[in-house]
């Protein structure tokens, strides 16, 4: 029961964090058809910026300023890089963001070194939120989940209840029509790209303090975020939410499971055979935790190629 509850909470919060990063990505993807390979680089920049800023201005201002700077960077990338190569097609836009992610990672290594930096939860926030089976549950974790939920609510309300939301959604689904109606679609694209980057930056600034802030964090999360987008479906915010939580829960539960495929086969009497075969069959689920999201993705592709909540192509 303890394992179950703790894994449930941890998984949900990790999933919410994944959502914070993938929300911007899936919005940009749905709108421009561009898969932004540099998206998790914005997440990394957010963490490093917040780390540098909190030494000067304190934790809370850093958490607020860093995403704004990252959002501005996103605008620059859209305006001066992506828009320039737009005429060469989607593959080119993808490749440019890919190259940018490369450059950003190398620049981070240039400025901060090739090892994790000491970005920590401030002492004022480092207390227990509640007791769980005799152990303290950190408040900061709960706060990360709260920020993500708040963000989901705000984006959802913004998109579904305001005029800006109507314009953005119409620009996503029918850009030509929106343009014909007199809306400045390139400006909307730039805005969404900036906001998406800013959201990733916020996720980095918040999560960097809890997890480690190192030059590989973009790459580690990058692949996972793509898996979220594939499972969730093209440009679907709700799909991204469901997929994020799903992956968060699965990774959090899998780490604690010491079963192997051979153990399961033992129930049907094939345990000894499986032990002899070895290989995949005798690997513990916990050691496979990192591979489960990919397996899940393959499963979803087989059953529902357009993703859980994506539209049919």
């Amino acid at each position: 029961m303890e394992f179950f509850t703790v894994s449930l909470i941890n998984g949900t919060i990790y999933g919410l964090l994944l959502f914070m990063v993938s929300a911007g990505l899936t919005l940009i993807f749905g709108m421009m058809g561009v898969l932004n390979f540099a998206h998790t680089s914005f997440y990394m920049i957010g963490a490093y910026l917040a780390y540098s800023l909190q030494k000067v201005v304190g934790f809370w201002p850093a958490i607020i300023i860093a995403p704004i700077i990252v959002g501005f960077l996103g605008v620059v990338v859209e305006r001066f890089f992506l828009r320039r190569v737009h005429k060469y097609g989607h593959a080119h836009e993808l490749l440019v963001t890919f190259g940018l992610s490369f450059i950003i990672a190398e620049l981070i290594k240039l400025f901060f070194g090739n090892y994790p930096v000491n970005y920590q939860v401030p002492a004022s926030l480092n207390f227990a939120a509640f007791q769980l089976f005799g152990t303290n549950y950190p408040f900061y974790r709960v706060m990360m989940g709260g920020i993500s939920l708040l963000m989901f609510g705000l984006i959802f309300l913004l998109l579904s209840r305001t005029r800006v939301g109507i314009v953005v959604r119409s620009a996503i689904y029918r850009p030509k029509m929106a343009e014909a109606l007199g809306h400045n679609v390139p400006l909307v694209f730039m805005g969404v790209f900036g906001v998406g980057a800013g959201l990733a930056g916020l996720a980095g600034a918040v999560a960097g303090a809890f997890y480690t802030t190192n030059p590989n964090m973009a790459l580690e999360l990058g692949v996972l975020v793509f898996v979220v987008v594939v499972i969730g479906g093209l440009g679907s915010l709700e799909g991204a939410m469901v997929a994020s939580i799903l992956i968060g829960l699965i990774s959090s539960f899998a780490v604690g499971v010491d079963l192997t495929a051979a153990d399961l086969l033992a129930y049907v009497g094939a345990g000894n055979w499986a032990q002899q075969v070895g290989g995949l069959l005798t690997l513990k689920v916990s050691s496979l935790a990192a591979t489960i999201p990919f397996a899940l993705m393959l499963l979803v592709l087989l059953v529902r190629p357009s993703g859980l909540m994506g539209e049919k192509e």
Partner: protein, 391 residues
């Protein structure tokens, strides 16, 4: 050629050949088929391991002497390519890219746990056994072996582009819908192209295994997959030999530069983005531009010189800034700082530069400004020339 080269250069040449084959195999899928794979290291790596296991199993004896062992790389690549291709080609476009990336990551996450296959941290070692009167002990013999394999493979790949399926590959890139209406099974065609690409990537991996006599699961890192993407597009995917050219040039560049600076990967990234932004068809695009232009050779040469000069000057500015920053941010320099005292000078290019002085930073900025001005000026002139032609 090996007679004139030192051992290290010969090794670099082997690496260049392997990279060229890998990039060409990648290009069949990405450039010709329009399927941008971000996980091609999976088939390369599998090819390497398959060859290593074959080297250990057969010891270069009997029907399968050492020179033929990269065949196992091809088989390994083809089999994994079939499985991975079947999944990933269910979707197209960016989804395809993400799936290939995730599949490679899956393999990368799985490989360390499968010690019997991938040898864990230590990897799988092997030995090149003598066969056909060669000992394969010297780099020169390995070079000729690699050269032979690469030439034959490239010829086969080139021949493939002439076959009906090869022509169909271009159709997959241009308009898959139309192929479907014409009655082709698009999914099967995609899988076949994927398998061919993975097969030759496997051969490249097998050649790497032959030359290194060992491999471990680091072959499945994203780094390798991204390198082949960067190389191919820098060379230009529109032309058959473009990616091979790009891979050879960048491998040699890396070999020459990586000893000089720690920021080599940063330069690679900058080169890639610059090529994508300003030379969308890559290095081989220059040849097409030269041949396709109606201007006289002298005029073309003049403009080419203008652009080259501009590029070199701005590159000097970028290199200067990066190297200065790199030394400035390095740990030993940062620890040598004493609060309240001026920052000590940095040794760079045989001179001492004071990081506090404006002149130090003025130089790279000036270089960049001059370089960009040269490029803009040349481009504007070129534009004007073409406009008057058109009018």
């Amino acid at each position: 050629m090996p007679g004139f080269l030192s051992a290290t250069l010969l090794n670099a040449a082997i690496q260049m050949l392997i990279a060229a084959l890998f990039a060409s195999a990648f290009n069949v899928l990405a450039g010709q088929g329009g399927m941008l794979s971000f996980g091609h290291c999976a088939y390369y790596g599998i090819g390497a391991f398959a060859t290593l296991h074959a080297m250990n199993a057969f010891s270069g004896q009997g029907l399968l002497p050492t020179p033929l062992l990269p065949v196992f790389g091809a088989i390994g690549g083809a089999v994994t390519g079939l499985a991975a291709g079947w999944f990933s080609t269910k979707r197209s476009g960016v989804y395809f890219s993400m799936i290939t990336l995730a599949l490679a990551e899956l393999l990368h996450a799985l490989a360390p746990h499968l010690k019997s296959v991938f040898g864990g941290e230590a990897g799988v070692p092997s030995m090149r056994m003598p066969a056909w009167g060669f000992t394969f002990g010297s780099a020169a013999e390995v070079y000729y072996l690699t050269l032979a394999w690469v030439v034959v493979s490239l010829a086969l790949l080139y021949f493939f582009t002439r076959t009906p399926l090869g022509r169909l590959t271009l159709g997959l890139r241009e308009n898959a819908h139309r192929l479907k209406f014409l009655g082709y099974n698009v999914h099967m065609a995609r899988v076949m192209v994927f398998v061919i690409s993975a097969t030759f990537a496997g051969i490249a991996g097998g050649l790497l295994a032959m030359s290194n006599e060992a491999a471990n699961y680091s072959l499945f890192e994203v780094r390798l997959s991204s390198e082949v993407v960067l190389n191919s597009y820098i060379g230009g995917v529109g032309v058959f030999f473009g990616p091979a050219l790009g891979a050879a040039v960048m491998t040699f560049f890396g070999y020459a530069v990586s000893d000089l600076t720690r920021s080599w990967l940063l330069y690679q990234g900058i080169i890639f983005v610059a090529v994508m932004m300003f030379m969308p068809s890559g290095l081989s695009g220059i040849v097409a531009w030269w041949q396709g232009s109606k201007q006289s050779a002298a005029t073309l040469l003049r403009y080419m010189l203008g652009w080259t000069a501009g590029t070199l000057v701005s590159a000097a500015g970028v290199v200067f800034t990066v190297e200065l920053l790199q030394r400035l941010m390095a740990d030993d320099y940062q620890f040598s700082l004493v609060a309240g005292r001026a920052w000590p000078a940095i040794q760079l290019f045989g001179r001492a530069w004071l990081p506090g002085a404006i002149t130090t930073w003025l130089l790279p900025v000036a270089l960049l400004a001059i370089g960009i001005a040269l490029l803009k000026f040349t481009s504007a002139r070129w534009q004007a020339l073409n406009d008057t032609e058109a009018a």
